[in-house]
């Protein structure tokens, strides 16, 4: 029953995409797909797979993840803290640790990121490894989400952090190889979809609701923004360090870097 429901919603998401594709295929390009049966089967698999995936998450992981976010923020609050000014950010280290861990874990399983990293591995001829890219992105998300929780706890303004992050991204952009920049920017946008958003949003709203002096409406948002900027940094930083490292050891650029430059 649950599966049918989710299948229905997923199907509704696909209709506009399918409509656009079919209209352009028939009316503008006026030609047939080279392999329509294979594409149709692929579409059905994507739909079915996504629906199953979501139902499974709904069954197994989301309820626990959301409850845990609440329990963690509650457990810190057991000591009676009176006024808003008494909030000490050091009391919340468990929350930061949980945020980092869950940010990492959900990003590794994110289907959009899997799609982009598979494509990146194919396009770069293996110079960018799909699994490695996902790990680096996940590290970025984990740092970002835990810093975002620190921001909610301290109540400091969101724009400062994000704008500072932009500055770092810009500096890193000019120091890194041209070939990695677009991929790094893309990996910021894909980290936050099906899996990460619900858990991370629950964490942010729960945190803002339990800490005295924070409003869920103003302080609860922003974790997703952190989770989309930090992977850009981590991917760029990783690319810079690995090329710096191979230079320092006095080697020729490694095989994979040469391949990346040649693509």
């Amino acid at each position: 029953m649950e599966l049918l429901n989710t299948l229905g919603t997923t199907f509704r998401d696909v209709i506009p995409i399918a409509a656009v594709l079919i209209i352009f295929q028939v009316a503008v390009l006026r030609r047939r797909l080279p392999n329509p049966r294979r594409v149709a089967v692929g579409f059905v698999l994507v739909l079915l797979g996504l629906a199953l995936f979501l139902v499974g998450l709904e069954q197994a992981l989301f309820p626990i993840g959301e409850t845990m976010a609440r329990q963690l923020t509650d457990s810190v609050m057991t000591g009676d803290i009176g006024a808003a000014s008494d909030v000490d950010w050091r009391d919340y280290w468990l929350v930061y640790a949980f945020a980092a861990a869950i940010g990492f874990a959900t990003t590794v399983a994110e289907p959009s990121l899997i799609a982009v990293s598979l494509k990146a591995e194919e396009v770069s001829g293996g110079a960018v490894r799909a699994w490695g890219l996902r790990l680096v992105v996940a590290i970025g998300v984990s740092v970002g989400v835990s810093l975002g929780c620190f921001r909610i706890v301290t109540g400091t303004p969101l724009p400062w952090y994000i704008i500072a992050a932009y500055v770092v991204v810009i500096v890193l952009t000019f120091r890194s190889s041209r070939a990695i920049v677009p991929l790094a920017y893309d990996s910021g946008g894909v980290t936050t979809s099906t899996v990460t958003v619900p858990v991370v949003a629950a964490l942010g709203l729960g945190l803002a609701a339990t800490i005295p002096g924070r409003s869920p409406l103003i302080d609860g948002f922003g974790l997703i923004a952190f989770a989309s900027v930090f992977p850009i940094m981590s991917v760029l930083a990783y690319a810079i360090t690995s090329s710096w490292w191979s230079k320092r050891r006095g080697q020729q650029p490694s095989d994979s870097e040469r391949k990346l430059d040649d693509t």
Binding site: D13, L21, G49, L50, A109, S112, L118, V181, G188
Partner: protein
Amino acid sequence: MWARESARFLFPMARRMADSLRDLTPIILVIAFFQIVVLRQPFPDLANVAVGLVCVMVGLGLFIQGLESGLFPLGEDLAWAFASKGSLVALLAFSFCLGFGTTVAEPALIAIADEASDVAAEAGAILDNDSARGSYALELRLVVAFSVGIAIVLGVFRIIKGWPVHWLIIGGYVLVTVMTVFAPDEIIGIAYDSGGVTTSTITVPLVTALGVGLARSIRGRNPMVDGFGLIAFASLTPMICVLGYGMVT
């Protein structure tokens, strides 16, 4: 024929399942660790969790299989067809429709728009009743969907022209920074978050394949340097548009 097809299909499926089990291990470990060691709560409803995990594994496997046999070839094929037809207008119209169409119905965006209308009502920017909130949320969704359409058009145009992606993105960052200063405080968090939620799991593979396909079919473009970057635009323009919307209303 059927048997051979299914054999060819089943073998990679088994490997994919193993891969998705590996992908899920971190989530399982994190939740188990915090549940048992830190919070010391009993694991609720273990059977349900196990069934759910199997669903997730099979689902992820099917999804990736479908990507490679359906969405990736389709995206690249479309790019190739548009490039060989040589009609820039048709390509840009298609890009806009793809961006707009896939975003306007995006569930994550609907959720964010509803929350934003609550914030606006609370702050007194709009009347605090259902119809005012409803129309605010709908307008916001249209604004974001429009901005994603523009983003894909801009990104595709960039691939054709071969402009470096970082100048456009950095320009966008500067614009976001400037607008943040003038936008009302309540909208900022929502605007920053709206960038991350607009690209759905089905749009991402299609758009990525489209970009890479275009870069491959145009002479002198490098798929690594020029093919990626469409998603980056799609996550930047909604921030600009939502901030702008917050300033106007």
